[in-house]
Structures are given as structure tokens and as C-alpha cells.
């Protein structure tokens, strides 16, 4: 199996590469690339993302043909794709970080700043928080409810259709921390930084 981590200048992806390399060793071919042809021909895609919604959306659009290729892969051909952090946020129609910016529009919804109740909750939401599993998700196989995952973000994805939500986490409100819609998977937390339990999420994705 060939898995591609999309390298689209979306900030620091070293940790994503390191953890996927660790889990993939001996069973999956891993490629880190922005080459459209390689992305087209692979079996699974990982879409990382750090920095702001706007900078990631701009970077996706900067690579000619990338957005269409991803859409063919994930929406038309329904092959597995995992978005991490801002990578997940990219699924939305629109984001409001820095400026109103269009997302990929794969899962109807918006990305807006966490309501921190007038400073009662510090932002960014940084650190380990428990996930509350809302529905069975393939990437949570053998993962217990209330497991700890590592978060770093100030914005949250609010999908219109709540049935896509696979887990939430409690920080000022129930924040969406993972989604599953058919072949589309996304985590707001960083599985690559979430110790052994995070590596298990990655393993589950690679084993799909």
C-alpha cells in the first residue's frame, strides 16, 4: 500500500512524517510529496496543516491542480483521506482565521474561533484533553473513550450535519475533535504528538 503525506507548505510537518514513518515501517510505503501524479496514484492520503486556515488554504491553491486532484481522490473516488488539525479544518466551506477564506467544501460547515467565554479559557487550547467518542469510528478501533490526545488550536470546526462528528472534547464547550464521513477522516488533535495512543490512531488509519 502507498500512503502519501501531502507536502503543501502547510507549516511544520516533521512530526507527522516521523510518527507515520514509525507506524508504517515494514508494512506501508510512505511518500511525502506535492507531486500531483504521485498523489493521484496512491491508496491513502494524509493532509496535515499548521498555522492559520487562510495560510493553509492559500498554500493548497498555490499548487496547480492540487485541489482538484484531492477532490477526485476523496470525493469522486472515495479513497481514504485523513486531515490533521488545520488539515481537518480544510474540509469546511469557510474559515474565519485572519480573513474569511474558502475551504475545500467537502463537509458543510465553518471554522471559527473558539468562544473562550471572555478570557475564562486561555487560547490557544494547548495540551492534553480527553476525547469523548460520539460514534463508532474506524480510526478509534481499540481506543478507549476518554483517552487523552494532544491539542494545539484556537479555532474549531463546526459542521452543519452533526452526524459526521465522531468525537468531541470539552474546552469551554464541546469542541468537535474528530469527524468521519464515509472515507473522510479528520482529527483536530495531533495523533502524531499524542504518544502511544496517537500512534494507534495512525495505525488504525493505515490499516483501513
Amino acid at each position: 500500500m502507498n500512503v502519501t503525506i501531502v507536502d503543501y507548505q502547510s507549516g511544520n510537518i516533521s512530526s507527522v512524517i516521523n510518527s507515520f514513518t514509525e507506524v508504517a515501517r515494514g508494512k506501508v510505503n510512505l511518500e511525502v510529496t506535492s507531486d500531483i501524479n504521485k498523489i493521484k496514484s496512491c491508496d491513502k492520503i494524509v493532509l496535515p496543516g499548521q498555522g492559520s486556515f487562510k495560510s493553509c488554504a492559500d498554500s493548497l491553491n498555490k499548487i496547480s491542480g492540487l485541489v482538484d486532484t484531492l477532490k477526485d481522490f476523496a470525493i469522486t473516488n472515495k479513497k481514504p483521506l485523513l486531515g490533521i488539525c488545520v488539515g481537518l479544518q480544510m474540509f469546511a466551506d469557510v474559515g474565519y482565521e485572519e480573513a474569511e477564506t474558502k475551504g475545500l467544501g467537502w463537509i458543510p460547515g465553518k471554522v471559527s474561533r473558539i468562544n473562550n467565554q471572555k478570557g475564562k479559557f486561555k487560547l490557544p487550547h494547548i495540551g492534553w484533553n480527553e476525547i469523548e467518542i460520539q460514534k463508532e469510528s474506524k480510526i478509534f478501533k481499540d481506543i478507549k473513550n476518554k483517552s487523552h490526545m494532544y491539542f494545539v488550536h484556537s479555532y474549531e470546526f463546526i459542521p452543519e450535519d452533526k452526524s459526521v462528528i465522531s468525537a468531541t472534547t470539552d474546552y469551554s464547550s464541546k469542541i468537535v475533535c474528530s469527524v468521519e464521513k464515509d472515507n473522510l477522516f479528520g482529527t483536530q488533535f495531533h495523533p502524531e504528538k499524542s504518544d502511544k495512543i496517537g500512534l494507534k490512531v495512525i495505525d488504525n488509519f493505515l490499516n483501513l
Partner: protein, 252 residues
């Protein structure tokens, strides 16, 4: 609920850990990669490297250590010490650091914080502030590892780095550092009350109760400690179990 983080810090000089861990299972007490792995396996919520190498020529050494550690530790890794330019930050992030902490350079030029957080995202920019008490409820920022006075008020400076995009503040009390008498709780309280970003408490931990004070009395989101873990007095697990027993939420 968001958990309070416990962060062991390793001081690295010329590629070797200065205050080594005194654990029996260690093969090489000076190897930062091996020590980071022990902490990460032991439940550390993050790992922090502070490069105290004096010369500029040795930057490659810390980068190599970060590269090796990042391949073995799958918890967040913060690296600080001698970070002066966007290029320094780029190099550390590419090597596998998740966050970079800026100290002296942030005081000299706050635009570096602004530029870095814009380029890499606030989530990976930590500003390390070294503060010394000058009068009642007044602390001054020091630089160059606490050697140089700046005349800058710590509260003002903390607000300024927040405005410029810092994602976290690593706050060290120069009065308390190395004393093992506990954090400067008043300093912590003052800074956490005046900023809206997470503050990591540093400097002075000697007992597990000090960790409790930093979080509960000081309002810190994370507690950093070096020697109590290095010398094997306590394991990360001991600290977490203690805090948990006192109803402070931690990742167990």
C-alpha cells in the same frame, strides 16, 4: 477537561546533558536523546531542551539531537536557547521540534516573535521570559541567561509578546531558579492574571508540592522542572499521582 502539563527540561551543552538524570537504567548519563526517551516513556506531557552551548558554531549539534529525539519521542518537543533568527527557528522545526522558545532575541526585537508566529503559527512560538523581582509586585525582565538587566517590566513585556503572537509564555523566576524553594507564585499569579495565553511555570521546584502551588496558586497551565526529575528524586509518574491525589487534573 484540559489537563495540567508536566514538562521535564533538559539542559544541553555541546551536545551533552549538563544536569544528568541519575537513573540506574541509563546507559549513558549524558545522552540527551536517551534521557528524553525515558521521560517520554515515563509519561512526560512534553519534553523541553534548553541549549546552553555558549558558541554559535555548535548549533548543528542541538539540531542533530532534536532530529534523533523526534524520531523516538512522540510527545511535543520544545527547544530553546540561542534562537535569534527565523532561520534558527526553521532549522529546529525541520529537525522535528514542535515548538521553539525565544528568549533574549524576543526582548531585543519583538518583531521576531511577530514574524515567526505569522510564518509558523502561534502554536509553535513560545517566549521564554526570565524575571527578577525588583520591588513589591514588580519584576524586571533579564536576558542572556539572567545576566543582563533590561529595565523592562515583566507584565508589560508579557502582554506585548502576547499581542505579537506568542502562543505560550515560559516564565522563569531568576530569584527562585536553582533554589528548590518553590516557584515565585506571586510572579506567576500576576502574569497569568494579565495574559490570555498559557503560562508555563519555571524556576525553583524542589518538591511535588511546589508543582501544585504553580498550578493551583499561580494559575500556570504547565509546570516545568529540571533537577527534581534528573536526580531521580521523583519520577514523572510520582508527580502526576501526587497532583491527582490533590484533585489537580493530569494525564495519567
Amino acid at each position: 477537561m484540559l489537563k495540567n502539563r508536566i514538562i521535564p527540561c533538559l539542559d544541553v551543552k555541546d551536545g551533552r546533558v549538563v544536569k544528568g538524570i541519575n537513573f540506574v537504567e541509563l546507559k549513558d548519563a549524558g545522552d540527551p536523546v536517551e534521557q528524553a526517551k525515558i521521560y517520554s516513556d515515563g509519561g512526560a506531557d512534553e519534553i523541553c531542551f534548553l541549549d546552553i552551548t555558549a558558541s554559535n558554531e555548535n548549533r548543528e549539534t542541538i539540531i542533530d539531537i532534536v532530529r534523533k529525539t523526534a524520531k523516538e519521542c512522540f510527545v511535543p518537543l520544545t527547544v530553546g536557547g540561542g534562537v535569534r533568527t527565523i532561520q534558527n527557528i526553521t532549522d529546529l522545526l525541520l529537525a522535528g521540534a514542535d515548538k521553539v522558545s525565544i528568549n533574549t532575541a524576543a526582548v531585543k526585537n519583538v518583531d521576531l516573535v511577530k514574524e515567526a508566529s505569522k510564518k509558523f503559527g502561534s502554536q509553535c512560538i513560545v517566549v521564554a521570559i526570565d524575571a527578577k523581582k525588583v520591588s513589591d509586585n514588580k519584576w524586571e525582565v533579564f536576558t542572556h541567561g539572567g545576566r543582563n538587566k533590561t529595565g523592562i517590566d515583566t507584565v508589560e513585556f508579557a502582554k506585548k509578546v502576547e499581542e505579537n503572537g506568542a502562543g505560550e509564555i515560559l516564565l522563569t523566576s531568576m530569584d527562585k531558579d536553582g533554589t528548590k524553594t518553590g516557584y515565585d507564585v506571586d510572579l506567576l499569579k500576576t502574569i497569568t492574571n494579565n495574559t490570555n495565553i498559557p503560562v508555563i511555570a519555571s524556576g525553583g521546584v524542589g518538591t511535588l508540592d511546589h508543582l501544585y502551588d504553580g498550578i493551583v496558586k499561580g494559575g500556570a497551565s504547565a509546570v516545568l522542572a529540571a533537577s527534581i526529575f534528573h536526580y531521580g528524586e521523583y519520577k514523572i509518574k510520582d508527580a502526576k499521582e501526587y497532583l491527582n491525589s490533590k484533585n489537580v487534573s493530569v494525564r495519567l
